[in-house]
């Protein structure tokens, strides 16, 4: 992305931040939290991992890549 496009994108973000700042928190949260089914991740009622590295490794091996939990 070139500098002009970056500046335009940033200006759009600032407009979004300013619009959000005018809304009460209760309303912001209504639009921010969504619930969609995530395969594997939502299939167990409880999971616990001793170390964050264990959790990250599990995400990479068990979750579909398109969920975005894999590391860059």
């Amino acid at each position: 992305m070139d500098d002009v496009a970056q500046a335009r994108e940033r200006a759009t973000w600032i407009e979004e931040f300013a619009a959000a700042a005018k809304r009460p928190l209760r309303i912001r949260m209504r639009y921010a939290f969504i619930k969609t089914y995530r395969p594997v991740l939502d299939d167990e009622p409880f999971r616990a991992f001793d170390r964050m590295t264990d959790y990250r490794a599990w995400c990479e091996s068990a979750l579909p890549g398109w969920l975005g939990y894999g590391r860059v």
Binding site: F17, L25, M52, G68
Partner: protein, 157 residues
Amino acid sequence: MGAFEYRQAEEIRDAFTRHGVRYLFIGKSGAILLGFPDTTQDADLFVERSPENGAALVAAIRELGFELTEAQAAEILRGKDFVQLNNGPFDLDLVFAPDGIERFADAWQRRIEVEGFPVCHPDDIIASKAATNRVKDRESLPRLRAFRDYWASRRRG
């Protein structure tokens, strides 16, 4: 189960306060509390790891309606780094050792209070997401950094 709501955030705040749980909203849910306009699925809480806080946490989340077995409660009390709860009125991730943040006490010192909700400072939210280095975090980081700058400028007046 529906999406996480303001009322449920209030229930967390009130139950955790009653039981004396030390915690902070972190991740995108924390950023949203600070004003970041974006979407997410669940609430992430950074919880101080100590025997006392663990016991208070277990009592509080049971009071909120999470159905913890004794074995699951024991896992939380033993001090895991990460616990994912899908067994209650809403989804909740409990993080005891987030990437990119050395100590809970440091994050607590820097916390921001929003309508009584204790929230990690945007710098800590960004540090955590940057250290995690997931695809979905890397994509949201430039916008989150821009929000941090906007938020800081508004606080300065």
